[in-house]
Amino acid sequence: MEETVISIRNLHKSFGNNVVLKGFNLDLKRGENLAVLGKSGSGKSVLIKCIIGLLAPDGGTINVLGQSIPDLSQDELDRTRVRIGFLFQSNALYDSMTVKENLEFPMRRHWLSADEKKAEEKIAEALENVGLLHTLNMMPVELSGGMRKRIALARTLILKPDIILYDEPTTGLDPITAREISTLMNNIQKKYNTSSIIISHDMNCIKITADRIIILMNGRAYAEGTYDELVASADPEVKQFFD
């Protein structure tokens, strides 16, 4: 049976006169990896920031894990967010903290009374997953772009979320590292059986990770389908993404 973890209906969002989303619909099933494809400035990032509650939508409903995100109180929102991982485009590692402290941060925040030993085990496990155990006491500035992305991924995974939202995970990386990250994402999803929304315009990444693709255009879901279906599409608007 397929459970819907994210359900978005008729989402509207605009910044001043710039209308970004106008009546966007989306459904994410458990265990499904959905890629949202779109041009720069098409509102992809806005979409996932609305899902996690960083941005309040102007209209429409966002239902995540049975909760209506815009209607939640701060406490309820925090509790829901524990179950959602978010990988930022710029990694958003805390510059003033070591890798270990970066990984600790979400844990400390969400489970204040977590005991030290268990926390260290979790950190070790998360770093193991991304293959960077040796960076434990390094500062983020000492790491390369790819390593930082992996640390960010490890931090996202540390709370074992049900849903992971990836904001352009391979942007700014060289193609080889991008493929490594994509593979890593795929492995993790299989390992933890998470659902995910991947915002990207990197077709290689999408090809590796996505089960289904939605093309976001003019504030709506313009086309939908698997990678192969969309590659085969005759629509010129769709085709331009795959050239």
Partner: protein, 256 residues
């Protein structure tokens, strides 16, 4: 009514700053309290600023004494040098110089730090991690600057008075005992308390302005630089404005 662009921006920013300050008060009273981060910020903002503040204070005390001496000799009141220096340091030089140095060091670093956190989505990441970034970043920093600046001012005063003591002794010989007797005999609560109280306001203004500029930094590295820069400028200006208000308020209460 159409106001000129920069006037409108100025009023808009003043309004946003007021709203930001209001939000600070709302958020600061609500749990949860970020005690660890607050102590950490106190360490960074207070303890780590001490060498700079101490050096500036020392030099100011020494220079002030040497500058005042010729004038006092002209009036034949060279013996009043410790009293004169003591009062000027405690009442004005200490708080204002320390606050300006503090604005330069801490205002800019807060502006740049929060600015870069904003730009690299660290603030969003905090929010997603179940942390109220306003509480975690802004409230702790503003509280730290508000509470640490008065202590820095006090220590700066002490170092400055020691510098002044050396300054007095360059051309004359005064025992340390006589020096501090003269300094403290001429000080009253009306000199110390207003100076101490106003340094809380200086610290608060520097913290709020630094956080506001950083928190509302525009995208890109240029935005970070601009917020650091304007944090220093606005914070320094605020220090002088508050000083002006403080002197009028103390005057109103008859403490001058």
């Amino acid at each position: 009514m159409q106001l000129p662009q920069h006037t409108r921006n100025f009023i808009l920013e003043a309004g946003e700053l007021s709203r930001f300050t209001g939000r600070f008060f709302r958020e600061s009273v609500k749990p949860r309290y970020e005690v660890n981060e607050f102590i950490n910020q106190c360490f960074i903002v207070g303890y780590k600023s001490l060498p700079l503040v101490g050096l500036t204070g020392f030099i100011m005390g020494l220079v002030l004494t040497m500058q005042l001496r010729p004038s006092l000799i002209d009036y034949g009141v060279e013996s009043e040098l410790p009293a004169m220096v003591g009062i000027s340091i405690v009442r004005e030089i200490g708080p204002v110089i320390t606050a300006l140095i503090f604005a330069g060091k801490i205002g800019s670093s807060i502006g740049a730090e929060l600015g870069s956190m904003k730009v690299t989505e660290q603030i969003d990441a905090m929010e997603v991690s179940g942390t109220n970034p306003f509480k975690y970043l802004v409230v702790t920093r503003v509280m730290a600057t508000t509470l640490m600046l008065p202590i820095l001012v006090l220590l700066g005063d002490a170092i400055s008075l020691y510098g002044a003591y050396l300054g007095v002794n360059i051309k004359a010989t005064t025992s340390f005992h006589l020096y501090y007797t003269q300094v403290f005999d001429n000080l009253s609560f009306g000199d110390v308390i207003p100076a101490f109280v106003k340094s809380f306001f200086f610290g608060f203004a520097i913290g709020v302005v630094g956080c506001f500029k950083g928190y509302n930094s525009s995208k890109g590295t240029e935005g970070v630089g601009r917020s650091a820069n304007s944090a220093v400028v606005v914070a320094s200006l605020m220090v002088f404005i508050l000083d002006l208000i403080a002197v009028q308020v103390t005057d109103l209460f008859g403490l001058n």
